[in-house]
C-alpha cells in the first residue's frame, strides 16, 4: 500500500511541475526575479531543483531571488528581503548563509535567533522565522546575484 501512495505523490508532483511559469518583474535599476522550486534529492543523492506550482504539504520549496543591476552604476547597500510565507516553515537553509532573520519583519538579527526563556538563552524555532534579509554592500553595474531560502510546506 505504501508503494502506491508514493507513486501517487510522484504523479502529483509531476503534474504540478509541468505547468510552471514565472514571469519576471522589471524595475528601473534593480530587476528582481523570484522563483519557487521544489527541492528534491534524486536517486544519486544529488539535490535537484524542480520548478513548482503545486506541492503537497511537507514539500521543501526553495525561494530564490535573482537580482540584477540593470544600470551602469554600482548599487550599494542593497537589502534583499525575502519573506517566509504563512503555512511554510523555514528549514534553516539560507544562501548565502549571511542572512539575518526576523520573527516580526522589523527587527533582524544574525541566525540563529535567540531569546531568553527562564533566564536562559534558547534558540527560536524556525517555525517562528518570518523574514530573511541579506545586506549586500555592492552590486556592480550590470551584475547579477541571487539569494535563496528553503521552506517546508506545512
Amino acid at each position: 500500500m505504501k508503494r502506491f501512495k508514493i507513486l501517487r505523490n510522484v504523479l502529483l508532483a509531476t503534474i504540478a511541475s509541468s505547468s510552471l511559469l514565472n514571469i519576471a518583474h522589471a524595475d528601473d535599476a534593480l530587476k528582481m526575479e523570484l522563483t519557487a522550486n521544489q527541492v528534491i534529492k534524486n536517486a544519486e543523492g544529488k539535490t535537484v531543483y524542480t520548478p513548482v506550482r503545486t506541492a503537497p504539504a511537507g514539500t521543501v520549496i526553495q525561494y530564490k531571488a535573482n537580482y540584477t543591476n540593470t544600470i551602469n552604476k554600482d548599487i550599494n547597500d542593497l537589502m534583499v528581503t525575502l519573506p517566509i510565507p504563512a503555512n511554510m516553515t523555514f528549514t534553516g537553509d539560507a544562501m548565502p548563509a549571511s542572512a539575518q532573520a526576523s520573527t516580526d519583519g522589523k527587527n533582524y538579527a544574525d541566525m540563529p535567533l535567540m531569546r531568553k526563556v527562564d533566564g536562559k538563552m534558547v534558540k527560536i524555532p524556525y517555525s517562528e522565522y518570518r523574514t530573511l534579509r541579506w545586506n549586500i554592500k555592492l552590486l556592480p553595474a550590470k551584475k547579477s546575484a541571487a539569494v535563496a531560502l528553503n521552506t517546508t510546506v506545512n
Binding site: 552604476k73 548599487i75 524556525y126
Partner: protein, 722 residues
C-alpha cells in the same frame, strides 16, 4: 499458522489493490490518502532596498510566485497486541477477574499535513472485525481515558524541530485523552510522519468466569478527512477491536479407591488415588500455587499420620498433614500445573471397623482444590475464606455445595464436561453366614409317596452373622443338596420349606418365625438347587433361615444309609465361604432272627436256655429243641437332647409266625410251650397255636418301640422211630 495467516493477508491486499477495490479489513488499518480538492495558495514576493550613488532608491519588488499546496491526509491505526502487531485487532488478550487488561494501538500520520484525531473507546462489537465468537459477557469501557506518547513513526524520539512543531500546535508529547465521546479533549494532533502510541485499560469484573469474552473498540477520526472536500471515498474513522478472554484453569478432580472393602479383614485398608488435571479448554490457563485438600472422613486414618504416608507424582508437591474437627486432612500445595497436565496423589488409609457397622455402610471421600487468581494459596485454615484464602474452590462433592466456586462455565463441571469431578465411594461388607447343623434321621424302608407318612425331615439353619443383608440381589445365596448314592432314599422335591425368623426391631436375633415357605428346588441329576431369589428381602443381619426338606424311601434296604450334602454358596461382593454339612438318612426297620437251644431232658424253661443260630449236632430222638423268633425294631432310640440326632419310630401291626410244617416231619410241638414277650415298652399279643402255625400278633394298641424286641418261643420234641 501465524505465517500462513500473514501470507493470506498479503495476498488479499494484493488482490484488492490490483482490482482497485477497498476492503473492509483495509479500512480498519489505514484510511488511505484523502487529498483536499480545494488547494490553498501560498504567495511570496521579494523586496529590496538599495542606494545608487548614495541616493536611496524606491524599493524594488519582485514578481509574485505562487505555490498551490496539495494537502493529503492519510493515517494508520494498528492494534499491536494479539496475533499481529499490524492488524486491526487485539484478540485473545488474557485476563483474570479483578485484573486490568491493557490494549495498545499505534496511530500514524502517513499524510503530508498535520492532522487532528479524535480518539474514542466504545463498548461495541465491530461487525467488520472478527476476533472471537463472543458470548459477550461484558464490554470494555466506552469513553475511557487513553494514554498517548508521541514519537516519530517507527518509535524513534522526536527531533527538536518536531518537538517544537508539536509545541507550536499546542500538542503535548504524552498524556491522557479524557472526556466524553467525541469531545475535543480526546483530540490528538500529529505532524506528518509522527505516531502516537495509544493505550487504555479495561478492568475485568471480579465476578467473571473462565471463558467470558469481552470486546470493545478504539476509534480514531481524522478531522482533516472528515472536513476534506474530495470526490473520492473518504475513510475518516478507523476502528480497532479489542477482545479479552478470561483465562482460568479448569480442574478435573478424579478420586478413585476400592469400590468395596471386606471388614472381616484384620486391618481393612483403602488405597486412594487423587488425580487433578488442568483440563485443556478454550480458556485454559496454567494453574499455579494451588492446594489440593483431602479431609478424610471419620473412621479413616493414615497408618503413620505422617507425610510419608502420602506420595505425590507428576511433579513436585510436599504434603502437609493436619487435623480438622478430629479428621485427618492432607493438603498438597502445587506450584505449577500446566494446561493438560496432571498431578497424582496416592495414599492408603486404615479403616476403623467399629465406625462402619451398619448394613450397606459406605464411605465417600471427597477432595477439593483451592486456587487464587493472583498469588499463592497459603497454608489453609480449617475453614478457608473465599476472597481471602482462595478465589476458586472446586470439589468432588455431589451435588456441588453452595460454597463451590469453580469460576468456569457450569457445564464444564457437570457430567460430560472437561472439568467433571468424581469422588471415591467405598462400600463396606462384613459378611458372615453359618449353616448348622447336620442332622441324622431314621427312615423306614418304604415311605408313602402320596403324603409325608414315613418321610423324615432334615433341618438346617442359616444364620446371618454379618452386617449386610444376605440373599438379596446384591448378595445372592444358593443352596444345593447333593443326594448320595442310595437310589432308594431321595429328597422329596415337594417337601422343601424355608422358615424365616427376622431379627427384632433393635437388631437382636428374633424369635418369631414366619410361616414355612414352600419352595421347589431345581433338580438336576442328584443335585437339588434353591436360589435365594425366592426370598423376598433376603436375610437381614441376625436373621435366621431354617431350611427343611423331607427324605422318602422306596424298598430301601434296612441298614443302608444315604448321605445328603448341603452346601450354602454366597455370591456378590466379598462372599464368605460356608462349610458344608452332610445330613445322614439311615434306613431302619424290622429284623427277624430265629435261634434254637437243645433241651435234652425236655424240661428246660425257655428263658434260661442258651440259643444259638448255628446248627446243633448230636441231638437225639426224644430230646427237645426250643425255638425263639425275635423281631427287632432297629430304629434309633427316642431321644430329645439333640434335635439333630436320629429318633426312631414305632412298628405296628406285627405278626410273628412259624409254620408247623417247618418241623412236623421230624418233630412235634410240645403243647403249651408257645409264648411271646416284648421289651422296651413294646407289646405283642399272646402266642397262639393253630393246626398249621404258631403265631404272636399285635393288637391295634401294641407297638414295637425303637430298639424294642418282640419274641415268640416254643418247644418241639424230636420224633423217635421216624
Amino acid at each position: 499458522m501465524k505465517s500462513n495467516t500473514f501470507n493470506y493477508s498479503l495476498l488479499a491486499i494484493g488482490v484488492a489493490a490490483v482490482m482497485g477495490l477497498s476492503t473492509g479489513a483495509m479500512a480498519s488499518i489505514t484510511s488511505g490518502p484523502t487529498t483536499n480538492s480545494t488547494t490553498s495558495a501560498i504567495n511570496n514576493v521579494a523586496t529590496a532596498s538599495y542606494n545608487v550613488a548614495g541616493v536611496t532608491q524606491p524599493t524594488a519588488t519582485s514578481n509574485i510566485v505562487t505555490v498551490n499546496v496539495s494537502e493529503t491526509a492519510n493515517f494508520i491505526l494498528y492494534a499491536t497486541n494479539g496475533n499481529s502487531a499490524t492488524d486491526d485487532k487485539n484478540e485473545n488478550i488474557a485476563t483474570i477477574p479483578g485484573a486490568t487488561a491493557t490494549f495498545n494501538h499505534i496511530l500514524i500520520n502517513e499524510g503530508n499535513v498535520s492532522d487532528t484525531y479524535n480518539i474514542n473507546t466504545t463498548a461495541n462489537n465491530d461487525a467488520n472485525i472478527e476476533t472471537a465468537t463472543p458470548t459477550q459477557g461484558y464490554a470494555h469501557p466506552a469513553n475511557t481515558d487513553v494514554a498517548f506518547i508521541i514519537r516519530q513513526k517507527g518509535g524513534a524520539a522526536l527531533t527538536a524541530d518536531q518537538a517544537n512543531a508539536l509545541q507550536a500546535l499546542g500538542q503535548a508529547q504524552s498524556g491522557n485523552l479524557t472526556g466524553g465521546a467525541n469531545t475535543t479533549t480526546r483530540n490528538i494532533k500529529l505532524l506528518p510522519g509522527l505516531q502516537a502510541a495509544l493505550s487504555y485499560t479495561s478492568l475485568t469484573p471480579t465476578g467473571r468466569t473462565g471463558g467470558d469474552i469481552a470486546v470493545g473498540t478504539l476509534t480514531a477520526t481524522s478531522s482533516f478527512i472528515t472536513t476534506a472536500t474530495t470526490t473520492g471515498t473518504k475513510v475518516p474513522t478507523l476502528v480497532n477491536e479489542n477482545q479479552t478472554i478470561v483465562r482460568l484453569p479448569t480442574f478435573s478432580i478424579v478420586k478413585t479407591g476400592a469400590s468395596s472393602v471386606d471388614l472381616t479383614a484384620t486391618t481393612p485398608q483403602i488405597a486412594y488415588t487423587i488425580t487433578v488435571t488442568n483440563a485443556n479448554t478454550d480458556y485454559s490457563a496454567d494453574a499455579t500455587d494451588f492446594v489440593i485438600r483431602d479431609v478424610l472422613p471419620a473412621g479413616l486414618s493414615l497408618p503413620n499420620n505422617a507425610t510419608t504416608d502420602v506420595t505425590v507424582s507428576g511433579g513436585a508437591g510436599t504434603p502437609r498433614i493436619s487435623t480438622i474437627s478430629g479428621r485427618r486432612a492432607i493438603d498438597v500445595p502445587v506450584a505449577n500445573l500446566p494446561v493438560g497436565e496432571s498431578r497424582t496423589i496416592t495414599f492408603t488409609v486404615n479403616v476403623d471397623k467399629a465406625q462402619f457397622t451398619g448394613a450397606n455402610s459406605s464411605v465417600t471421600n471427597n477432595v477439593a482444590v483451592y486456587d487464587k487468581f493472583v498469588g499463592a494459596v497459603g497454608t489453609l485454615s480449617d475453614t478457608p475464606t473465599v476472597g481471602t484464602d482462595y478465589d476458586i474452590l472446586d470439589n468432588t462433592l455431589t451435588p456441588a455445595p453452595g460454597s463451590e466456586t469453580t469460576r468456569v462455565p457450569a457445564a464444564a463441571d457437570l457430567s460430560g464436561g472437561t472439568g467433571v469431578d468424581s469422588a471415591a465411594t467405598t462400600t463396606f461388607t462384613r459378611r458372615s453366614l453359618t449353616l448348622v447343623k447336620a442332622t441324622t434321621r431314621d427312615i423306614a424302608p418304604t415311605t408313602s409317596t402320596t403324603n409325608t407318612d414315613g418321610q423324615v425331615t432334615h433341618v438346617a439353619t442359616i444364620t446371618n452373622l454379618g452386617q449386610d443383608v444376605e440373599g438379596d440381589t446384591n448378595n445372592p445365596l444358593t443352596l444345593t443338596f447333593t443326594d448320595g448314592t442310595n437310589a432308594a432314599v431321595d429328597p422329596v422335591t415337594t417337601q422343601f420349606f424355608l422358615i424365616y425368623t427376622p431379627p427384632n426391631p433393635d437388631g437382636t436375633p428374633g424369635s418369631t418365625p414366619s410361616a414355612p415357605l414352600a419352595v421347589t428346588p431345581t433338580k438336576s441329576g442328584n443335585v437339588y438347587t434353591i436360589n435365594s431369589s425366592v426370598l423376598p428381602g433376603g436375610i437381614a443381619p441376625n436373621g435366621k433361615l431354617e431350611v427343611r426338606y423331607n427324605m422318602a424311601s422306596t424298598s430301601a434296604v434296612v441298614g443302608s444309609t444315604e448321605n445328603t450334602t448341603v452346601r450354602l454358596a454366597a455370591a456378590g461382593t466379598n462372599p464368605p465361604t460356608i462349610p458344608t454339612i452332610t445330613d445322614v438318612t439311615n434306613v431302619r426297620g424290622l429284623t427277624l432272627v430265629k435261634s434254637q437251644a437243645l433241651d435234652a431232658a425236655c424240661n428246660a424253661d425257655a428263658s434260661a436256655a442258651t440259643f444259638v443260630q448255628t446248627a446243633i449236632d448230636n441231638a437225639k430222638p426224644d430230646q427237645c429243641v426250643i425255638y425263639r423268633i425275635q423281631a427287632t425294631n432297629t430304629s434309633s432310640a427316642i431321644q430329645t437332647a439333640d434335635p439333630a440326632a436320629a429318633s426312631g419310630f414305632n412298628i405296628t401291626g406285627l405278626t410273628i409266625s412259624d409254620l408247623l410244617s417247618n418241623f412236623s416231619a421230624g418233630a412235634t410241638y410240645v403243647p403249651n410251650t408257645a409264648a411271646s414277650t416284648a421289651t422296651n415298652n413294646s407289646s405283642i399279643g399272646a402266642a397262639a397255636v393253630s393246626t398249621s402255625a404258631i403265631t404272636a400278633t399285635m393288637s391295634s394298641t401294641d407297638v414295637l418301640a425303637p430298639q424294642g424286641v418282640a419274641s415268640l418261643t416254643f418247644k418241639v420234641k424230636i420224633k423217635n422211630a421216624r
